[in-house]
Amino acid sequence: MNLLDVIGPVMIGPSSSHTAGAVRLGLLAISILGEQPVKADIALHGSFARTYRGHGTDMALLAGLMGWMPDDARIPEADIYAEQNGIQYNFSTIDLGELTHPNTVRFQLEGASGKTCTVTGSSIGGGQVRVTEIDDFPVELNGALPGVLIVHKDRPGVIALVSGKLSEYKINIAGMRVFRTNKGGSATMIIECDQTVPEEAIKALKETKNVESVRFINKVL
């Protein structure tokens, strides 16, 4: 915590969790998709579902999907800009269950290249955010550091191979979590790094044995 955490950030009101945090969730979602979306289905859960109109959460999410920052004065009219930019969007409400954080959104995005992804994330207070699911895989990502999401087969040695590749490219691992659906089945690794992971490193990771897919997620904060 420092002075500028208390005096700041500059943001469009009215709520750090329902507005500024929502912009960041949109930013993180397009960073995961890796391009601007042309189609966005946005489902809101809990307090997001109940109060999104009054808090401008819908505008804030669209703003994030267009790559705007939380202090962009155009946020109140983000819907108009989204239409001009050819983004087909739709808002709905969803019940993700009691245990889900009350400020949660699930994006289903499609990019111009045909790439798709589903991203679920929560605004956890003070503008801080956490992405909890990408394409049905559980993750934990806050957008403060660049990250790599790797889907792989649950086999001995995959983690060592991946971390070895990253070290070849002089990339330091700041945090790492591994999840799996079932033993020997499909697994995911979410790795937060201190450095941006270059194209060649992503390519090398994709060629690693037992790795099925690799996604680079740039930081958004």
């Binding site: 915590m1 709520s15 307090s47 009054g54 207070g125 003070g126």
Partner: protein
């Protein structure tokens, strides 16, 4: 430092020992912690002051919130006070602090650009007090910047010992903390001693202890906007007392710890969930029903 609680009294002692102003020891400490030059930090704070000033101006145009629930009170008050025969109950400084605090809060509710200091919901208090004093006490933006440093560090101490979030600690943690920050800033900008800053902080927290967060329909509008005005008044009365040499029997750090204890004991219904207090009055529930059925 990660797990160490910050202490306002430690800052005060350090300033006294080194015979420096409070903002000086705080600025040096922050620049070191953030690994940045003090001058870069000061430039950032000037940007924040600029945004605060713009948000006052935007609010004074009489903006309405997106829900239609609130808006226009800052403009209405400013217009009433500008009438020739108007007799103010508050006097010039408090009057303007109130108008500015309402203006920024209404700008926030209307999706204007604001500085969350310490939060968006309590963003009117600091600009209210700072810019009223700037106008009536001939302060410069450099003076205001020093005030912001003191305010920010008071907020950091509160965050480390208690919380700045209504969902965690009720409105006492949002508007209460904002008032404490503004009171400390006011005392230091007007030449009070570091010790007097501590007393002003403690007085505001004591006066606002127990305040619950009960927003109508969960929106940052009712009662938030007027509470920003009220909190700015609390800041001024505490600064007035502290500058006159009146002491708080309970020291600042202990008042913050008491605020934390009260917040922990506060039921969830009174912490930003709109399940109690004003949010549960017949008027609020009827409005919320209409709003949610839209």
């Amino acid at each position: 430092m990660v797990n160490d609680k910050l202490s306002l009294e430690k800052y005060i002692e350090l300033a006294q020992k080194e015979n420096k102003a409070l903002y000086e020891v705080m600025l040096a400490d922050n620049a070191k912690e953030m690994d940045t030059a003090p001058i870069a930090l000061e430039a950032k704070l000037q940007e924040m002051l600029q945004v605060m000033q713009e948000s006052i101006a935007f609010g004074l145009t009489g903006v309405k919130s997106r829900s239609g629930l609130t808006g226009g009170s800052a403009k209405a008050l400013a217009e009433a006070m500008a009438k020739p025969k108007y007799q103010s109950l508050l006097g010039p400084v408090a009057q303007d602090a109130l108008v500015y605090a309402l203006a920024v809060s209404e700008a926030n509710a209307a999706m204007g650009r604001i500085v969350a200091a310490p939060t968006a919901g309590a963003s009117g208090v600091l600009p209210g007090v700072l810019f009223a004093l700037k106008k009536h006490r001939n302060l410069s933006n450099i003076d205001l910047q020093k005030g912001l440093i003191v305010a920010g560090n008071i907020g950091m101490v509160i965050a480390s010992r208690a919380s700045l979030s209504g969902a965690m600690g009720g409105c006492q943690a949002e508007c209460g903390s904002a008032g404490a920050m503004a009171a400390g800033a006011a005392v230091s900008m007007l030449g009070g001693t570091p010790e007097q800053v501590g007393h002003a902080v403690a007085i505001v927290l004591k006066n606002m202890l127990g305040l619950v967060c009960d927003p109508v329909a969960g929106l940052v509008e009712v009662p938030c906007i007027k509470r920003n005005g009220g909190s700015a008044m609390q800041a001024l009365l505490a600064a007035e007392m502290a500058l006159a040499g009146i002491k708080s029997f309970i020291p600042a750090d202990e008042a913050i710890d008491a605020m934390k204890e009260v917040g922990d004991k506060m039921p969830c219904a009174l912490r930003e969930t709109a399940d109690g207090g004003l949010a549960h009055t017949p008027t609020a529930l009827a409005w919320a029903k209409r709003y949610f059925s839209k």
